[in-house]
Amino acid sequence: MIEKPIAFIGRIIADFTHEINNHLALIKESSGLISDICKGKKSIDKKEIPYVIESLEAIESQIHKSVNFINYFNRFAHRMDNLKATFNLNSVIEELFELLKRYSNRKKVSLKYSLPSNLPDVNNSPFIVQFALFYAVDSFLKRSKPDTTLNVNATKEQNSLKITIRYEGDIVEDSFQQMWTPSSVQEVLAITNIKISINDKMITIEIPV
């Protein structure tokens, strides 16, 4: 049972390190360009100044992006501190979607979510909720076509919060990618009484409240 959550964490770490490598590559090339321009000189030519300024601005902007991205990853890591915690659904979705942006961009699928402002906080495992959301997103992305959308909504029911993940677009019917079986995912979600139901283009996750 543990293999699916481990695969999920592995996926997030792999995408995170890939993205950070890209950030570092830009910082390295920008600082390298400044070094190339200034090396062995006491002063730089006027025409080279825009390149230096542009590079410094690129470094500053990239560091800012990297810090934000690392903060999302750090928050994701702390979601595993305790099996149960009180959390805001909006924040766990925002965090997960930021970390999955590279994956969805590569598939040209837009990840959207819009949750009502009056949703109560959840007392459950934020990690397992993210795992369920990841399963839903991943299972659609593996069969998605470009320029499509995944929409996440949530409603408060009598004894639960219901999250729906709806795929809008055509599905690739003969996807060769390996999918997780719903029962193996349900087995993990059952640890904190989360339920999942799966249709062709919609997955519903129910979190007890």
Binding site: T17, H18, E19, N21, N22, L24, A25, L26, I27, K28, E29, S30, G32, L33, D36, I37, Y51, E54, S55, A58, Q62, N105, R106, K108
Partner: protein, 126 residues
């Protein structure tokens, strides 16, 4: 002496801009684009070496590699990526990539690869 023509295709525009400038400062005739559609225009000029990001927005880098080789098999392609998985490395080499570098790359290592790739292109054209 004719300058070596280099085409950089990477979706990170600021990275393309800095790398283009750094290679230009080293005496290369360098062009940079952020997608394959723009890259196609420069491929008609037959660059000696293409530095190609594996994860482009409009087409998978491995597919782009195949297209480049269809256009002119002597063009040498150095794959550039944040990925480090063996499968992608092997696939790109099987599709005819000259070499594969993981970002962030060392500029001198890249220059050294470009020089060897250029020699290979000259050999292929003899």
């Amino acid at each position: 002496m004719k300058k070596t023509k280099i085409l950089i295709i990477d979706d990170e525009s600021e990275l393309v801009s800095a790398l283009t400038e750094r290679l230009t400062l080293r005496g290369y005739n360098t062009f940079g684009v952020t997608n394959f559609a723009d890259g196609l225009k420069f491929l008609n000029k037959i660059p000696d070496v293409v530095i190609l990001d594996i994860g482009l927005p409009d087409m998978d880098g491995l597919e782009v590699l195949k297209k480049i080789k269809e256009i002119n098999s002597s063009i040498q392609v150095i794959m550039l990526s944040g990925y480090g998985d063996d499968e992608k490395v092997n696939k790109s080499l099987n599709y005819g990539a000259f070499d594969y570098l993981i970002k962030p790359v060392d500029i001198e290592e890249l220059v050294s690869k470009i020089e060897t790739a250029k020699l290979k292109k000259e050999e292929a054209e003899k």
